[in-house]
Symmetry: C2
Subunit: 204 residues, 2 copies
């Protein structure tokens, strides 16, 4: 028996630096796995089934929905996206950490079914900094940027539902904070029942 | 207004490495302060009032006890030792962290009055390792070592009352874990009401 791994849920506005931070965490912790989402949209060029996504059809996704097979799911435009519960639970039970980079609605679904998860919210220090980053990417129109900024503001009201807040004003410091959160949670007494039982035996 | 600092309570058996870890934390975090205990015992050579301890007499200590002036206290043989509440609270309210290296009984008193504290338990990986360390210090008799080992074993039953367990099988790793716990707790949403309010303003 080993203690279960950590389910690490990361949210934050587009432009917060979530992707960069999550990739850095994966390099730091060899036992962190990304969960693989299932989707009903078609694969794009280069996307591989079982690596980028599990690709499936509408009928199968709906069948799985009735079986409560997703930790969280959403319908975006005409397509379903979901996090298969079994894959995540299998990894956790093996003592591995699983990382989910999802939006607030998804995170709140996960929190309901798996409250032991670690919920981190990453946010740039100000609207001005977020806008500067979004403009620097040269990928969004002015309208899209305006919508993202407005959404970032309203989403701040959800921070209270998260465990940890990382204000990303400095990327290395933000990565260090996220890594510290994982290392700290690994030391939580409530997550170490097996480790404690083992240690007690070594004191007999 | 700033968010209050962290009250960091560190316990563990004699020989666990608490002192070394706490000193390393103080070097890493410029905003960690040790609390200064008050005692009714006489100063030893070189001990300075207000630095090593606050020295006082029995009558004054008892008067302070009736005023609930201590976060925790104990009578050891004929002398009282206590952690003055006001000094600790003043530092915390200034946003500074305060570290207390105290035994389980003291920690449980602190937990009752200040449950927001961070309670860490540090323990060597096994009785054999602890014994090896105690013998290596060449300060204790066989009887004292036997008593310490026996006490270390029974004290393991209190781990459940702590938030974090650090199994100190490697000193740099143990220091890194303790530092991570502090960095993580600094990011806790529930400890950052002021920071969140400030961030919300910067998104208006």
């Amino acid at each position: 028996m080993t203690d279960p791994g950590l389910l690490i849920v990361v949210s934050g506005p587009s432009g917060a630096g979530k992707g960069t931070i999550c990739d850095a965490l994966r390099k730091t912790f060899s036992n962190i796995y990304y969960s693989i989402s299932m989707t009903t949209r078609s694969p794009r060029t280069g996307e591989i089934n079982g690596v980028n996504y599990y690709f499936t059809n509408d009928d199968n996704f709906k069948k799985l929905l009735t079986q409560d097979a997703f930790l969280e799911y959403a319908k975006v435009y005409d397509h379903y996206y979901g996090t298969p519960r079994e894959y995540v639970y299998t990894l956790l039970n093996e003592g591995k950490h699983v990382m989910l980079e999802i939006d607030i609605q998804g995170a709140m679904q996960v929190k309901k079914t798996y409250p032991k998860g670690i919920f981190m919210y990453i946010v740039p220090p100000s609207k001005a900094v977020l806008e500067h980053r979004l403009r620097g990417r040269h990928t969004d129109t002015d309208e899209v940027i305006a919508a993202r900024l407005s959404r970032a503001r309203t989403e701040l009201d959800w921070i209270d539902k998260y465990d940890y807040l990382i204000v990303n004003d400095n990327l290395p410091a933000a990565i260090d904070k996220a890594a510290s959160i994982i290392r700290a949670e690994e030391c939580r007494v409530t997550r170490n029942a097996e480790c404690i039982a083992h240690t007690k035996k070594l004191y007999k």
